[in-house]
């Protein structure tokens, strides 16, 4: 059974039955899942959650599904205290939420797990998406598990490694030869015409809810409290908005105290429509043409940009951008200080966090959680030129010592 009661328009508040729709018929505002929180408050407790499996589905009561879930082992990823990186950045209480450790190596498994479950509930025989990497792999993997067909659209010039990361699950992969806007347009037309569960179009209201579990897990892992700061990589903006929603739901249910977390957005300088609007002091996004190595964050016209800006404002957060060079430096710093190899989005977060500390938006003693949302093996090309290749020695002690001598002792 599900505690979700309806889909509700975020703009005009009109309610709709829980169907595969994502836009209000009247004002064209986005729809969001509404819940019966009174019943959830009655049925859910810290103990009940703690006794449930170590998975995102331990918070099933707060997700909009009724039956059996499509789960490939997602969630309850480590929250590690990062003292080395903290020292480097001037922070005493820095934690990393390491979502590289999901089945397809990014946080997208959280949203897709909900989307696939929902698609199955709705009786779709296929799920679909358009992606430059992370989403493609996750949709293909969940479709394989669920016995659903998958239609995955990728740009024709996508790197081989990313194509492989989705192709291995044997979906129907379609490479589209067109610019970004054309691909967007095509996919909207496809979603209108074909009877698919398009995870981020007609299933989007349910899909996006999956990201709330990052907020739940962090609060639980901190001993049932919200952090002082959350530093989040932003593309569509949904992740940032949903972490905030997740924390506030826990508070509303009495599972944690009041939330005073400041939500900070980080983007790549080459695609920073949210950061730009934040700096201009407006909630109106000017769409941009992405030009950055952080392909997973390259959304020029973010669907939830407006809501991300509202959340940042409401929570007293800030926003910062990292150049491509800073992104690479951030990836390397994270790897060298904490042993975590993140993709470009992680580099954006680490370098963005450095800026936020420098600007005084985050203070030394405050509790900070940085969200590392994808694994570095996905974007090897981003750092390929900036790590040294090993020197070659002969298989003799003498050869080794000639190269390293006393330094190795």
């Amino acid at each position: 059974m599900s505690y979700a009661t309806a889909l509700r328009c975020r703009e005009c508040g009109r309610e709709y039955p829980q169907e595969p729709i994502n836009v209000c018929e009247v004002c064209f505002g986005p729809l969001e899942v509404a819940y019966d929180y009174e019943s959830i408050a009655r049925d859910l407790s810290r103990d009940k959650i703690a006794a449930a499996p170590a998975s995102m589905w331990r918070y099933k009561e707060l997700l909009p599904v009724s039956g059996e879930v499509i789960d490939i082992g997602t969630g309850f990823t480590p929250l590690t205290k990062a003292d080395n990186l903290g020292r480097e950045l001037g922070l005493r209480q820095l934690y990393l939420k390491n979502d590289c450790l999901n089945p397809t190596y990014s946080f997208k498994d959280r949203v897709v797990s909900v989307a696939a479950t929902k698609a199955k509930e709705f009786g779709f025989s296929a799920i679909a998406c358009t992606s430059t990497g992370n989403l493609a792999g996750s949709v293909a993997a969940h479709a394989a598990r669920a016995g659903l067909k998958a239609y995955i659209f990728i740009p024709a010039d996508l790197e081989q490694g990313k194509i492989l990361g989705a192709a291995i699950y044997n979906p129907t992969l379609i490479a589209v030869n067109g610019n970004y806007d054309e691909v967007n347009r095509l996919c909207n037309e496809l979603a209108d015409k074909y009877p698919w569960g398009f995870v981020n179009i007609n299933i989007r209201p349910y899909y996006a809810e999956g990201s709330k579990t990052l907020g739940y897990e962090v609060a639980e892992q901190l001993g049932w409290r919200a952090p002082d700061h959350a530093v989040v990589p932003v593309a569509s903006g949904a992740l940032l908005v949903k972490i905030w929603k997740g924390l506030n739901e826990l508070s509303m249910l009495g599972l944690i105290g009041p939330v005073s977390t400041r939500m900070h957005a980080t983007q790549a300088a080459g695609c920073a429509p949210v950061v730009e609007a934040f700096r201009a002091g407006t909630h109106i996004i000017r769409p941009v043409k992405p030009n950055t190595i952080a392909k997973s964050l390259a959304i020029g016209n973010p669907a939830d940009g407006y809501y991300a800006l509202k959340t940042i404002g409401e929570s007293g957060g800030a926003a910062s951008a990292a150049t491509d060079a800073e992104i690479v430096a951030g990836i390397k710093l994270l790897a060298e200080s904490e042993g975590i190899f993140a993709e470009t989005a992680g580099g954006v977060v680490v370098s963005g966090l450095r800026h936020l500390v420098a600007e005084g938006a985050i203070k030394r003693d405050e509790l900070v959680v940085a969200f590392i949302t994808g694994c570095g093996l996905k974007t090897l090309e981003a750092v390929a030129d900036s790590v040294v290749s090993p020197p070659i020695i002969q298989p003799t002690l003498a050869s080794f010592e000639q190269m390293y001598g006393e330094r190795a002792l």
Binding site: T130, S131, T132, N184, C187, A235, I284, L297, A303
Partner: protein, 80 residues
């Protein structure tokens, strides 16, 4: 006949021009505004365009040529 849901994003220099009015006048397209947020230097309007596919396409091409950005309602669907 077709209906298309779009967002127009206006650059500062077009904020004060009656672009949507002119679109309706010059093309066989009925414009139906659902939501908008316009300030001094930027703005967006969410609307439905109603007409023949060809007329809608021509209308959108004209609006785009004026410097307005036209996107499907709901933002980008290509994701990382």
């Amino acid at each position: 006949m077709a209906k298309r849901r779009v967002t127009f994003t206006f650059p500062p220099e077009l904020i004060t021009e009656p672009v949507i009015h002119n679109l309706g006048q010059q093309f066989k397209v009925v414009t139906n505004i659902r939501r908008a947020d316009v300030t001094e230097d930027r703005g967006w309007v969410v609307l439905e365009l109603d007409g023949d596919d060809r007329d809608i396409d021509e209308g959108i091409a004209w609006v785009t040529s004026k410097g307005v950005r036209v996107d499907p309602v709901g933002g980008d669907v290509v994701e990382g």
